[in-house]
């Protein structure tokens, strides 16, 4: 799956399950999800489950870091690394 598609799926998931916005995901790809108030400290587990189910990657606990999860771009990069 190419990066554009991965990002689109991530954005759709966040928009429908975290932002609850009819306007889709309106933040920049590199916007911090924590700083933008998109997710809280527990919400990250929703992302972990989503990534595991959708992209068939296993996320070990030590990977659950803001460096990997705190923006759409970081998530896409992380998925790319894991799938490589």
């Amino acid at each position: 799956m190419d990066e554009v598609n991965v990002k689109a799926q991530i954005k759709k998931f966040i928009a429908e399950n975290m932002l609850f916005s009819g306007d889709g995901f309106t933040h920049a790809d590199d916007a911090s999800l924590l700083e933008a108030g998109v997710i809280d400290s527990i919400g990250v587990m929703e992302l972990v489950t989503f990534i595991g189910n959708t992209f068939k990657v296993t996320v070990p606990p030590e990977d659950i870091l803001p460096d990997n999860f705190d923006s759409v771009q970081k998530l896409a990069d992380y998925i790319h690394r894991k799938q490589a």
């Binding site: 429908e16 399950n17 932002l19 609850f20 916005s21 009819g22 924590l34 700083e35 108030g37 809280d40 400290s41 527990i42 919400g43 990250v44 587990m45 929703e46 489950t49 606990p61 030590e62 990977d63 659950i64 870091l65 803001p66 705190d70």
Partner: protein, 680 residues
């Protein structure tokens, strides 16, 4: 415990009728089903619905002073009425009842508005002065008892519950958008705002005087901390308290608490106690037993959902104290089913379901034949019991060394869910709680993270509703004020102030307190909210409230004389109730699906139907749901219920009839024309 209601003409208006007052009182029959009373005079009418507890045979209201120039209707209890009555009798006042209400009217005659400073109790009352034609409306210090009013068509209309005001002639409800926005941030409105435009509360610790068509509102008591120097010292740790000083504080607190409990046992009916299994209610129950009450009935809420259940501790405590213990066990379905009825009582949206089990519990109390229970509210606010106080303390500690690798990890003690994430939790803990961490001078430092997080649910508002909020905001007005001297208080005290003024008064004592106990004709009494206890706690050095990260330190010291170590040392577990599973389960109530349907949400104008649909889809799929989503669900459902029950489908019940025991005192000049129709 009772309800009051009334109408006063501020300008030329038809005279308030007996029918109108009968209608207003019928709306709050649950608060006072035993007897009713109505007072009528030129341009004024007062009403009372009574739950008879003290002076049962003689206390029907309205009650007057000796010469009949002052007339009172009262909701509540004055616990020091025995002492106050003796004091007034020495000054020559003559009493004709055994009731605390009569003491208040004589105290007003003797001391004027200063009488409030002498009252130790929970109350909201109205006194009409026939001589100068003034109305005196007063509310207790922290808002144990509700009191609302509105001005409309040249009239002041007031009542214990908003539904009585809405049943008054020519009044209708309209949702206040800013009120909804506030509730989606603070879990309640900020006094004096209510959920309805034009209807305000008399703020806790205030009184209102209406005379010659003018209304003035005055504060007679406010939360103040008088331990500035001590609290600063305690933070630096430079001057430890002597053992003798600690013992003095502890003994004084112990004596005050015992007396606060003792005078709250004054009643001509049996008094029970709530038992949550925690420190506060357990200490109260233990002291009641020690005071010589031979038979004590205690009441607890248990949950089928083990995540929320505390029954092991409750049963242990009941066995230890030898009480006759009663339990109501709530299932998810029970909570979902009772929710609309609870909203009818709260009259405001909620972001928690916690009031619902409290409503089921007071029903159990009522069904067991009790009208009065002692409860533990107030200890967490006045003695620093909540995690939010610890969270702020840890963040300040961390802010003094932001690069520390371990200081923020103390937060794991407060948030076990995060702790369970291991290293991942640590990273997110740092990112989440690090926001604004260095802004330690901010007055709302302790609460800023919670409020910021809660505001995320504003995204469910429709564009139109958000615009209405913005328009109202443009008109000005401050959200909440900080009192004079606030900046000199200790860090813990600043956080306590916010928690007391917003959470305690506006939510805990209201939606989760008065409304859900009185909904089943039960009166809650709170020893920790005795004025002497509150003022003592506010003089305490901070470290006797929170020592390190041990909360309610001084109370634990007192409790150690009464309770097993397991209880008095036990870490506080917040009382909570299940949320999404209460609404989305095998038996999802019809009203949930109906209210959350696209057509219903669109018609409300308040919420964005797409956003609500997405939330519902998430919940129906059984995906993991965090606290923010839970709060959104309760907030949306309760707001829609408030809109339906009080705005679009408000239906007054039948007025009091001849079958009701109604005492009518008509002091109107004879032959004065009065309007007989229900529109007057």
């Amino acid at each position: 415990m009772c309800a009051i209601a009334g109408i006063l003409n501020l300008a030329d208006a038809p005279a308030p009728t007996e029918v109108a007052l009968r209608q207003m009182l019928a709306m709050v029959r649950h608060r006072g089903p035993d007897q009713f009373g109505i007072y009528l005079n030129d341009g004024v009418g007062l009403g009372n619905a009574r739950l008879s507890i003290i002076g049962i045979s003689t206390g029907q209201q309205p009650i007057s002073n000796g010469d009949g120039s002052l007339w009172i209707v009262l909701n509540g209890e004055i616990f020091n009425y025995v002492e106050l009555r003796a004091e007034l009798e020495r000054k020559g006042h003559k009493f004709t009842t055994d009731c605390d209400t009569e003491v208040v009217v004589h105290a007003y005659e003797e001391y004027g508005t200063d009488c409030l400073k002498r009252l130790n109790g929970q109350f909201a009352f109205a006194i009409w002065n026939e001589n100068d034609r003034s109305l005196f409306l007063a509310r207790d210090r922290v808002g144990k008892r509700p009191l609302f009013y509105t001005e409309s068509n040249g009239r002041l209309i007031f009542a214990s519950e908003i539904k009585s005001i809405l049943a008054a002639p020519e009044i209708s409800a309209e949702i206040d958008p800013v009120a909804v926005e506030q509730t989606f941030t603070y879990w309640s409105t900020i006094s004096p705002r209510t959920s309805f435009k034009g209807i305000k509360d008399v703020p806790p610790g205030h009184y209102l005087v209406a005379k010659n068509g003018n209304i003035t509102l005055t504060s007679y008591w406010e939360v103040r901390f008088e331990n500035e120097v001590e609290s600063k010292l305690s933070q630096s740790g430079s001057k430890p308290l002597s053992e003798a000083a600690l013992v003095r504080y502890k003994n004084e607190f112990h004596e005050l608490l015992k007396d606060a409990i003792n005078i709250r046992l004054r009643a001509d009916v049996p008094v029970g106690a709530y038992l949550s299994g925690g420190l506060d209610s357990s200490t109260i129950a233990a002291i009641i037993r020690k005071l010589g009450v031979s038979k004590l009935d205690t009441f607890s809420i248990a949950f089928h959902d083990e995540k929320f259940d505390e029954s092991r501790f409750q049963l242990e405590m009941a066995a230890y104290l030898g009480t006759d213990h009663h339990v109501v066990k709530a299932s998810h379905a029970d909570i979902g089913r009772a929710f609309p009825e609870v909203i009818w009582h709260t009259e405001t949206p909620l972001t928690r379901t916690s009031p619902v089990p409290m409503f089921l519990l007071s029903k159990l109390v009522h069904d067991k034949g009790f009208k009065v229970v002692l409860t533990g509210e107030g200890a967490d606010e006045f003695l620093g019991g909540y995690d939010i106080f610890k969270e702020a303390k840890i963040r300040r500690f961390w802010a003094r060394n932001p690069s520390s690798k371990w200081r923020h990890l103390l937060l794991k003690r407060l948030y076990p869910d995060i702790a369970n994430l291991g290293n991942a939790g640590s990273a997110y803990l740092a990112a989440f709680f690090g926001a604004g961490m260095k802004e330690t001078g901010s007055p709302d430092y302790s609460h800023a993270i919670r409020w910021r997080n809660d505001r995320r649910n504003h995204r469910f508002f429709s564009k139109e509703f958000s615009s209405q909020i913005a328009e109202q905001r443009k008109a000005g007005g401050v959200e909440h004020e900080y009192p004079e001297g606030f900046e000199k208080w200790g860090d813990l005290e600043k956080a306590q102030y916010l928690e007391i003024n917003i959470f305690l008064s506006q939510y805990l004592l209201s939606s989760q307190g008065d409304r859900v106990t009185m909904g089943n004709s039960v009166e809650g009494r709170c020893p920790f909210l005795d004025v002497r206890v509150m003022e003592f706690c506010n003089r305490l050095p901070s470290r006797l409230k929170m020592r390190g990260l041990i909360d309610k330190y001084i109370l634990r010291q007192v409790a150690s004389e009464y309770l097993p170590e397991e209880i008095w040392r036990r870490r506080k577990r917040p009382y909570r109730a299940p949320i999404h599973r209460s609404f989305f389960n095998e038996a999802t109530p019809d009203y949930v699906r109906e209210l959350l349907s696209e057509s219903s949400v669109t018609a409300s104008g308040i919420f964005n139907p797409i956003a609500v649909h997405q939330l519902v889809s998430k919940l129906e799929q059984g995906k993991s749901v965090g606290e923010t989503d839970d709060m959104a669900l309760v907030g949306i459902l309760s707001t829609l219920l408030v809109q339906r029950r009080f705005v679009s489908h408000f239906t007054p019940v039948e007025p009091l009839s001849d079958r009701d025991d109604v005492k009518v005192v008509n002091r109107r000049v004879k032959n004065q024309p009065t309007c007989a129709g229900s529109v007057c």
